[in-house]
Structure formats: structure tokens, C-alpha cells
């Protein structure tokens, strides 16, 4: 698991850096648009679609991080009434279920992107360069893929700890964000 752990840390650092940069660009760009529109009555044509698609990227990477830190929205009910061991066992079950769903959605996303590559659609143009739609859509399979990997390794780790009866079995997915 050591190698995977290291890999996960690298991906995590890359995700966080990417989020910070993308979100900063978005804040500046959207503010710039407001200024342009209000004071000069002009605007960048590509800025609005770019910003909306960027929210999708923010959302998917944010969701991938939420998977890492176990921050997804859930009905937090059963855990309160179970022993620590039973709660871990249930979390393995729900984790594996979520893994399967993410794999299927990643596959569906990939089919979607592959279709779009064949269509040669463009989504907006920056400085005369037409951005192909599938560039923007690539985050969907990547996001679901990252989530399924994280869910799988977390559930597998919890399952191994449970079987070993290790004292760490009840601990969360590592440090907080």
C-alpha cells in the first residue's frame, strides 16, 4: 500500500494546486467580466461558457477530494447506533457499492466523451482557436475514475483492518483537509 499511498498523495497535491489555480482564474475572470460589462458595455464571448464549464471541473475535483476526506453528503443515521466494528463493516459495504456505481458512471462518461470526439464539436473559441467539446468533458471520466479508485482502496483498507482485527479499523481516511 505504500506505493499507492505515495501516488495518492501526489495526485492529491496536484488536485489541490489545480483547484486553487483554476478557482483563482475564475474569480478574476468573472470579476473582469462584470467590470467590462458595467463600465464598457462589452464582454468576452468565451468567458461565460468557459466559467460554467470550469464550475463542472471544480465540482468534480471537489467531489474527488470529498471522497478522499469522506465528506460526501449521506444520511448519517445507522453509524450512530452501531458498534465501531459493525459500523466499519457497513462502511465497507457502502464503499464497495459506491465504487461499482462510480466505475459504471466512469464507463458511461467515457462512452460519452468518445462519441463527442467522433462528432468534432467545438464548445467555444479563444483567439480564433476552436476548443473541442471533449476537452471540457474529459473531467467526467477522470473525476468518476478518481472517485472509484479512492473508494475502492479505502474500502479495501477498512476490510483488511477488520479481518486483521487491527485497532485502526475504526479510524477515518487519514488527516483532515
Amino acid at each position: 500500500m505504500n506505493f499507492l499511498d505515495k501516488l495518492n498523495r501526489i495526485v492529491l497535491a496536484a488536485e489541490r494546486a489545480f483547484l486553487t489555480i483554476l478557482f483563482s482564474v475564475m474569480i478574476l475572470l468573472s470579476f473582469f467580466q462584470v467590470v467590462l460589462r458595467n463600465f464598457f458595455s462589452v464582454g468576452l464571448v468565451w468567458a461565460d461558457p468557459f466559467l460554467r464549464l470550469s464550475v463542472l471541473w471544480l465540482g468534480f475535483i471537489g467531489a474527488s477530494l470529498a471522497t478522499q476526506y469522506d465528506k460526501h453528503i449521506r444520511i448519517d443515521l445507522v453509524g450512530r447506533f452501531l458498534s465501531a466494528r459493525a459500523a466499519s463493516a457497513v462502511s465497507v459495504l457502502t464503499g464497495l457499492f459506491s465504487t461499482v456505481v462510480c466505475v459504471l458512471l466512469a464507463e458511461a462518461s467515457w462512452t460519452f466523451v468518445a462519441n463527442e470526439i467522433d462528432f468534432h464539436d467545438t464548445i467555444f473559441a479563444i483567439a480564433g482557436f476552436d476548443v473541442p467539446s471533449w476537452w471540457a468533458q474529459l473531467i467526467l471520466p477522470v473525476g468518476f475514475g478518481l472517485m472509484s479508485l479512492r473508494l475502492f482502496f479505502r474500502s479495501a483498507g477498512t476490510a483488511i483492518d477488520l479481518v486483521k482485527g487491527g485497532k485502526n479499523a475504526t479510524e477515518g481516511p487519514g488527516e483532515r483537509p
Partner: protein
């Protein structure tokens, strides 16, 4: 048919066992499309459509602004100001609590952060002024979600986005927009604060007060001089026609960033800001992934005319609008007991809008009814978020917290009845100001 029912039961069980809701909803969409013989990539086509929503950008921007405010010393300045202005009223510290929490929650979107950020500061003040422990606990627990009817709260934005993506029976688009919702929530929101304040004043007439001093008020005002204009910038910006709700979000982020980093120096640009960005985007990601997965499912339900069938079913035993509203509120209270506000909006609104509008309920009024119910849901077991945050923050047992919120809960129910049966509370300002 049995396959559908079995899948439904299995998914509900997995949801109650604590599976992430986006996975449950995604699985429901996968199953529905599979049974209908449609390729699963159609779910993704629908999911990708959320990138068309013009107000999508407002979600990460307002969330980030709210998190910055929560991490700065804004809570303490806000309390200082309301104390200086309202502390002289008998029972005034309770009013201070209600007002400052409501304002703060409007900006932080009722994600539970109010009790953490303000509760710790207000609890000692309440105790010092001889408010009973039980009253203080109930007050703070209730205040944790008070104000989610005020702009620019995240639940209002999300309701607006989800609602404008639904279709009424017959195919029309419901007459709802974020600009309208921002105005619609103001009077009902004030009603909640006034009702709770009146009770608090009555209950604590003998408690300590903070004498009013003009100098102190001026000092507090000067201290928060940069934060006080914020709600007005947003409201006048939008309704003065200077910018859209999304643009207002952008202006808010830049304004808050400059004020907290460069004017007050509460947050550092290199350390705090990237960390707060990351934290706020966790919540944004968690909400958007549910929204995305629900797009496919919603589309399937509309194609199968499920809202229409539900409406015909309901109509067979509920004929009047008034009776339907009773049923609606009971249903929403149960939803609020089980689900958090964001998932509830995403999952339930597409089903409710066609039915409620068929009974002649205005979709903006419906939104305010919906959010008031879900606000009550923060206080109801088994999953009421405020109960648990409060129990954790003030180190009290859940039964203790539950007992403390009972009078407030009853008052909120009363307010819900008023909001439900006086639609003008929600629509008067919208009509009067001619908001589109």
C-alpha cells in the same frame, strides 16, 4: 415491475446504511436507464447539461465568500455590532443572537458553520447575562439555520436552479428565478426572526441588559464599517439592475477577499485563502455531484410522466389546495427528518413542482414553504444537523439539546403555517418591486 421495486428497496436500504447520496442517485439513474433499454451514456449527456445553467457559477463563489467570512473575525465584529445596537432591550442578548446568526447564515448557506463560528462566542455572553442554560442551548441550536431564507443563501440559489430546470404538467417552465427568490424570502425570514425574538424577550424579561451607549455603538459600527455594506451592495446591485445574481457573487468574493485580507488582515493570501478555497470546494463538489447524478434521473422521471401520475394519485383523495398544503408540509417535515437541505432540494423539488403548481401554488411561494420546512428539519431527529453540531459544540447530550429546542420548534411550526397559508408573505415584495 418487480425488478424496479426490488431495486428501489435495495437502494433505499443502501441510502439508510450511509452510502453517499450521489452514489444512490447515480445507481437509481443507471438502473432506470438500464430497465428502459437506454444506453447509460445518456445519463452523462444529462449530467453535462448542468454546465448550461447560467447561475451555476454563483454556487462556488457564494460558498467561498461565506467560508472566508466564517474563518475571519467577522463573527465577533457582527456580534459586537448587534450587541451595541440591540443589547439594551430586555432579553436583548437573545435578539442579538437571532439577528447576528440570521445574517451570518444567509452568507454561509446554512451548512452548520453558524453554530461553530458564532455559538462559541454567544454562549458565554448569554450565560453571563443570566439566561438559563436550557434557553441558551435551544436558542443557539435554532439560530444555526435561521436566515436561510435571506439572500444570498445557498439553498435559495440551489432551489432556483433546480426549479427552473423542471417542467410543470403540460410542459411549461415554472415562473421562478433566483432574483425573485432572493426577494421572496425577505418577509418570511423577518417573520421567523420576529416571532423568535418576541418569545425570547417575553421569556427573559428579567435577564441582564447591556446599556445603550452612543459612543459604543459608533465604535462597533466603525469596526465593522467594511462588512455592513455587503448585503446592501448585493441587494442594490441586483435590484438596481447593475448586475445579475451570479455577477453579485463575483463582486462579493472580490469584496470579501480584499476586506478580510488587505483591510482587516484577518486572513493571509498565501496560507489561509488556498486552504479556505479547498474547504469550500469540498462542499461545492459534494453538492454538484449529487446535482449531476440527479439530472439523469429527473429527466427519466419526466419522460415517464411520473409527476403526472403522482398528481393523479394525490388528486384522487386530496381535492382542495388547502388540504394539499397540509399534506405537502407533513411530507416535507418527514423529508427534513431524513435528508439534508441540499439533497432534499435536488431530489424532491423536480417531483413537487409539477404537482404543487397543478394545485395552483406559485413556484416561488412553494420554494419558501420548502425551505422553511427544511429549516425545521435541521432540528428534528434522527438526522437534524443542528442537534448534532450543537451537542458537539456545547458538550451536551442529544436528549438535552432536543428538550431545549422544543419551544423554538413549536414557534417555527407556527411560522410555517403562516408562511404556507399567507402566500402574500412570499409574493408581495416580488410583485411590488416587479422583479423578473
Amino acid at each position: 415491475m418487480t425488478g424496479t421495486v426490488l431495486t428501489g428497496i435495495l437502494l433505499l436500504a443502501l441510502a439508510f446504511l450511509g452510502s453517499p447520496l450521489f452514489a444512490v442517485i447515480g445507481a437509481a439513474a443507471l438502473a432506470a436507464f438500464h430497465f428502459a433499454g437506454i444506453d447509460s451514456s445518456a445519463i452523462i449527456v444529462e449530467l453535462f447539461r448542468i454546465a448550461n445553467a447560467p447561475t451555476l457559477l454563483a454556487i462556488p463563489l457564494f460558498t467561498f465568500a461565506g467560508y472566508m467570512l466564517a474563518e475571519s473575525r467577522t463573527p465577533s465584529r457582527l456580534i459586537g455590532l448587534s450587541q451595541a445596537l440591540l443589547g439594551w432591550i430586555p432579553g436583548g442578548v437573545a435578539v442579538v443572537t437571532l439577528v447576528s446568526c440570521a445574517v451570518f447564515t444567509a452568507f454561509t448557506g446554512a451548512s452548520g458553520v453558524t453554530i461553530i463560528a458564532l455559538g462559541g462566542l454567544l454562549y458565554p455572553i448569554l450565560t453571563e447575562q443570566r439566561y438559563s442554560e436550557r434557553f441558551s442551548l435551544g436558542l443557539l441550536t435554532t439560530s444555526g439555520s435561521l436566515g436561510l431564507l435571506f439572500p444570498p443563501s445557498l439553498p435559495l440559489i440551489l432551489y432556483g436552479m433546480v426549479a427552473s430546470n423542471t417542467r410543470m404538467i403540460g410542459g411549461g417552465v415554472p415562473d421562478v428565478s433566483i432574483d425573485k427568490l432572493f426577494v421572496a424570502g425577505i418577509l418570511p425570514g423577518i417573520l421567523l426572526v420576529v416571532l423568535l425574538s418576541a418569545y425570547s424577550i417575553r421569556k427573559n424579561a428579567g435577564s441582564g441588559t447591556i446599556p445603550f451607549s452612543f459612543a459604543a455603538a459608533l465604535r462597533a459600527l466603525r469596526r465593522s464599517a467594511w462588512e455592513v455594506p455587503l448585503p446592501f451592495i448585493i441587494l442594490f446591485g441586483i435590484y438596481g439592475g447593475y448586475f445579475t445574481a451570479t455577477e453579485a457573487a463575483s463582486v462579493t468574493v472580490v469584496y470579501v477577499l480584499i476586506v478580510e485580507v488587505f483591510v482587516y488582515g484577518d486572513l493571509t493570501l498565501r496560507k489561509d485563502i488556498p486552504r479556505i478555497m479547498g474547504e469550500s470546494l469540498l462542499l461545492v463538489g459534494a453538492i454538484l455531484i449529487i446535482l449531476g447524478c440527479a439530472m439523469g434521473l429527473t429527466n427519466y422521471l419526466i419522460d415517464e410522466q411520473i409527476p403526472m401520475k403522482l398528481f393523479e394519485f394525490v388528486r384522487s383523495f386530496v381535492t382542495s389546495k388547502a388540504a394539499f398544503l397540509v399534506l405537502l408540509n407533513l411530507f416535507l417535515i418527514v423529508v427534513g427528518m431524513m435528508m439534508d437541505i441540499f439533497s432534499a432540494i435536488i431530489v424532491v423539488v423536480p417531483l413537487i413542482i409539477p404537482i404543487a403548481t397543478a394545485y395552483g401554488i406559485h413556484p416561488v411561494h412553494l420554494g419558501i414553504i420548502f425551505l422553511t420546512n427544511l429549516e425545521i428539519g435541521y432540528l428534528t431527529p434522527p438526522v437534524g444537523l443542528n442537534l448534532f453540531i450543537s451537542s458537539y459544540r456545547f458538550d451536551k447530550s442529544i436528549p438535552e439539546v432536543l428538550r431545549s429546542v422544543v419551544p423554538f420548534f413549536v414557534l417555527l411550526l407556527l411560522a410555517l403555517v403562516l408562511v404556507t397559508y399567507i402566500p402574500e408573505l412570499s409574493t408581495f415584495l416580488v410583485d411590488r418591486l416587479g422583479v423578473r
